[in-house]
């Protein structure tokens, strides 16, 4: 398999560029924005993951790039060629865009054998049969499908079907591969395996990938760049760790993982924000917007940011609590904490290593101000 030229990898020009993409539907309940002024860049060798709940517009964006749907406004270019432009009334059909795609339902043609499925992209681009089959054989070997070329898709297991879909997508050596929730139909074990293979195939081949999912763990594991979408808008772009640890707003924070939440009033806003909440006076970091004293703010805290100890700790962001309940989560436990606050007891969730505390025990919580997020 040919490894892509390193100079190409270093090239800054985007493989896919979307600008100002918009699409709206008129429904009974008014206008729904599937895409609302979305712009996106995907560079060679980069894996961009579109993340969001169903109906956030991520699939519409992917299908618009594939040419299976048409936006109503904006511009898309692939490999520097404009494939869609609302202003110029220009639209290139999917078969001329030269992209590859892995479909959610695999979309393997049931009347074609495995090798015919995989060589189809080459055959339809006028590669002669012998060469196309040779190439398909190489790719099949790479994804662990050796010797299955003559089978029909219906004779394969779900995981094998998924590998055929993957092999078909990379066989054409396309610079761009689109993934439409490809792992949502396979079971957990196969999912992890194929996910790792996708990462290593991308490293090897250097294609630009766009991957749609609603699973934030899958997204975090795959993405070089994570794009979080909500109601047709891009709400945050960044590396997964940044998006998880420094969310732009409450929606992203909530979507990326579990958190403890409350509301409060700002007492003082300097480098750190001091706010009065049902949890007591907390000191946190402002993550979005601007606040001044007296404003109402949201305060959020990831369970793993609660540091627990058996010794009393210093303020700010320190509480005494009782371990109310432990929930086994595999590598660690989730603790439900009963905390004595100034306005009465409240509950927090925390993560801790297994066997570190027992139910009913008294402990102290300490939260770093950087981990105490304040949203305007």
């Amino acid at each position: 398999m040919n490894v892509i030229d390193t100079t190409l990898r270093g090239e800054t020009r985007a493989r896919i560029q979307g600008r100002g993409l918009s699409k709206k539907y008129v429904t009974k309940n008014g206008i729904t924005h599937a895409l609302n002024d979305v712009s996106i860049d995907i560079h060679p060798g980069e894996m961009v993951v579109l993340l969001g709940p169903s109906g956030c517009g991520k699939t519409t964006l992917l299908r618009s790039i594939a040419g299976l749907e048409q936006p109503q406004d904006g511009e898309i270019s692939i490999n520097g060629d404009i494939v869609y432009s609302a202003a110029r009334r220009h639209w290139v059909p999917p078969e001329l865009r030269g992209v590859s795609m892995v479909f959610q339902s695999y979309a393997l043609w049931p009347h074609m054998s495995v090798i015919e499925n995989i060589s189809f992209p080459l055959r339809s681009r006028r590669v002669e049969k012998a060469r196309a089959h040779k190439r398909a054989g190489e790719v099949m070997e790479a994804v662990g499908l050796s010797g299955m070329g003559d089978r029909l898709p219906s004779q394969l297991s779900g995981g094998q079907q998924q590998r055929v879909a993957l092999a078909r997508a990379i066989a054409a050596e396309s610079h761009v591969v689109l993934f439409d929730e490809p792992l949502s139909n396979v079971d957990a074990k196969v999912r992890d395996q194929i996910r790792r293979e996708i990462v290593s195939l991308q490293r090897q081949l250097g294609f630009a990938g766009l991957y749609v999912t609603h699973d934030q763990l899958e997204a975090g594991a795959l993405a070089d760049t994570l794009v979080v979408m909500d109601h047709g808008k891009v709400v945050q772009i960044g590396p997964p760790s940044k998006v998880y640890d420094a969310p732009n707003n409450r929606y992203v924070a909530n979507f990326m993982g579990p958190s403890n939440e409350t509301k409060g009033k700002v007492v003082e806003a300097k480098d750190l924000v001091t706010a009065n909440t049902p949890w007591g006076v907390v000191s946190g970091t402002l993550r979005s917007g601007k606040v001044s004293a007296g404003d109402t703010v949201e305060v959020m805290l990831r369970p793993e940011s609660c540091r627990l100890s058996r010794e009393p700790v210093d303020r700010p962001n320190a509480w005494q609590c009782t371990i109310e309940r432990q929930t086994f989560m595999g590598a660690f436990v989730e603790l439900q904490l009963d905390v004595a606050g100034p306005e009465g007891a409240f509950q927090l969730f925390a993560l801790a290593p297994k066997y570190s505390f027992s139910e009913g025990e008294i402990a102290w919580i300490k939260v770093a101000p950087q981990a105490m997020w304040v949203f305007a």
């Binding site: 078969e95 590859s100 795609m101 479909f103 339902s105 043609w109 049931p110 339809s124």
Partner: protein
């Protein structure tokens, strides 16, 4: 009721009540045996009486039938007619299905109308209407065309030839293909088409390399089904073929009975040949039908892939309209024909005399009354029988009930003409002497249309929730109480739809009616064929129009519930 009283009541019923389930099942089995007997007895008896002579098996009837003058021409005609209708109706049906399911020319109303279209214009109305319009010299359509375009010679359109016969038959058969292929396209994962496009195939290549091959088994299944319909079709070849000098196997069988003296042995031999042809088709049909289930690999369908036709979509929509028009057109022909004193008469001679004759003449009036009452009776009997048998087999007997379900489907694979021949031979003579009675016609309708009744009943019952019945049983309701209070309200619409379908088919039945009807058992199909053979076309037109309008009105009134029941038949 206190808990104690409840227990006491249950205990009392437990020991004192006879087991109604057993009684009911006994009844069901008796009924099933009666139906199976009515199907098998005539056929077996006919075979024995024809092919056993003096206690020995003989092939003489075959030899006589084949030796008859023109038999090879008849076979050839049947072959041409069947393959021609098969290809044309598939072309129309596949095109309609593809255009309506996969392109932006889609018209939702078409998807609603097409499945019940065969129930709007019966074959006799369609065939006769086209003859009225486009008979070479005297067709009102041809006369109008000649007048408008100033043509001096005959024509310009001629329906009385192979092309016309095949075209008119195909118009009626196309919805069968449409139903099967459009269902296959709907079940097909649209991502299969999308994937082909993304991987470099043009829309045209996608259609030929992916869409059509994927629904290929469904297309093959539909084609064979249409072929079976065509090879055993009687109405079209008789009405159109007679004027064109084309005789097919089924018309030949009719003629063998209509000549004097009748030649039942040859008729049976030819029927058997026809039956073998049908089973050959059926054998392949079952094989590909099994492949249909395998072909569709499940997937979540996100949105229907549409092919953008651009301005072509108006052309495609125009073709939809042309097709619908071509199906409705013969009714116009019938209407005009029924006003003429003779075929080819001008508007100045139009009158309602034909209707006066048809409603005044005792034979035609009897035929109308008999057809409607026998149709209603057959529909009622069939839905009651099918409802009870299907419920028993699907809900109570489960696996072992399949035998009942299969046997109810048997008449569907026996051409009506063959069934009519068998019924006449089995029930005419001793000990029944039923020839020429209404009872024999009723038996024929019931046996012929039990498959349609069973399909409707089975789809109604399978849509009713079994859990609701189980809940009723747990709540203390017995079998009959559950049937009456829980099951019946759920299935009544489906059964009603089945009633309308059977009523329509029976009233418009021509094939068996033409054999079994007589002076004392005049029915529309019989009188229509009789009058047609004697050239009394205008009266046939008036009578057929009355039947078409009445049955279409019944179908239309019940179209909401029929759409669902009819669409589920395969």
């Amino acid at each position: 009721m206190s808990a104690l009283a409840l227990t006491r009541s249950c205990r009392k019923r437990m020991f004192k009540m006879p087991d109604f389930r057993q009684v009911f099942l006994g009844l069901v089995i008796a009924l099933a045996l009666l139906i199976v007997g009515l199907i098998l007895y005539p056929i077996l008896l006919t075979l024995v009486s024809t092919f056993v002579r003096n206690g020995a098996l003989t092939g003489a009837p075959f030899e006589e039938a084949v030796a008859a003058r023109g038999f090879s021409t008849i076979l050839y005609n049947t072959l041409i007619y069947t393959t021609g209708s098969l290809f044309l109706s598939c072309a129309i049906g596949i095109f309609l299905a593809w255009a309506n399911e996969r392109t932006d020319a889609r018209m939702d109303s078409l998807a609603g109308i097409l499945p019940i279209l065969p129930l709007m214009v019966p074959p006799i109305g369609s065939a006769l209407g086209y003859v009225m319009l486009f008979a070479n010299n005297s067709g009102i359509g041809n006369i109008t065309l000649r007048y408008v375009f100033g043509i001096e010679t005959g024509g310009p359109v001629s329906i009385l030839n192979f092309y016309g016969l095949i075209a008119v038959s195909s118009l009626s058969l196309a919805p069968v293909v449409y139903l099967i292929v459009s269902a296959a396209l709907r079940n097909m994962d649209p991502a299969l088409d999308e994937a082909a496009r993304v991987f470099g195939a043009s829309p045209r290549k996608t259609l030929w390399k992916v869409t059509l091959p994927v629904v290929g088994p469904a297309i093959a299944s539909a084609a064979l089904l249409v072929g079976i319909h065509a090879v055993s079709s009687f109405t079209f070849p008789f009405i159109i073929g007679t004027g064109a000098g084309i005789t097919t196997l089924s018309v030949h069988i009719y003629r063998l009975f209509a000549i004097f003296p009748p030649d039942p042995d040859s008729a049976v031999a030819v029927s058997l040949a026809l039956l073998l042809l049908v089973y050959l088709g059926l054998f392949f049909q079952l094989r590909v039908a099994r492949a249909v289930g395998r072909a569709v690999i499940g997937g979540k369908s996100s949105s229907t892939a549409t092919v953008k036709l651009g301005p072509w979509r108006y052309v495609v929509r125009a073709l939809f309209i042309v097709y619908l028009g071509a199906v409705i057109l013969p009714v116009v022909g019938l209407a005009i024909g029924s006003l003429q004193p003779y075929l080819g008469a001008g508007p100045s001679q139009f009158s309602l005399d034909n209707f006066r004759t048809v409603l005044g003449n005792f034979e035609t009036r009897d035929a109308l009354i008999n057809s409607f009452s026998l149709g209603a009776l057959a529909a009622t009997i069939n839905m009651a029988v099918a409802g009870i048998l299907m419920f028993a087999s699907m809900r109570m007997l489960k696996k072992s009930g399949h035998l009942i379900e299969y046997s109810l489907m048997v008449p569907a694979v026996i051409p009506h003409i063959v069934l009519a021949v068998a019924l006449i031979i089995a029930f005419s003579g001793p000990p029944f002497y039923l020839y020429g009675t209404k009872l024999l016609v009723l038996i024929a309708y019931c046996v012929m249309f039990i498959p349609e009744a069973s399909r409707a009943a089975s789809s109604a019952i399978s849509q009713a929730s079994e859990e609701l019945s189980e809940a009723a049983h747990v709540a203390g309701a017995g079998l009959f109480r559950t049937l009456r209070k829980v099951v019946l309200p759920q299935v009544v619409n489906g059964l009603l739809a089945g009633w309308v379908i059977v009523f329509f088919l029976a009233v418009n039945e021509v094939t068996a009616s033409s054999f079994l009807g007589g002076l004392n058992s005049a029915v529309v199909g019989h009188v229509a064929i009789d009058y047609f053979a004697n050239g009394r076309l205008s009266e046939v037109a008036a009578m057929t129009l009355i039947v078409t309008v009445v049955t279409a009105a019944v179908v239309l009134a019940a179209s909401g519930i029929i759409g669902r029941a009819y669409a589920s038949r395969r």
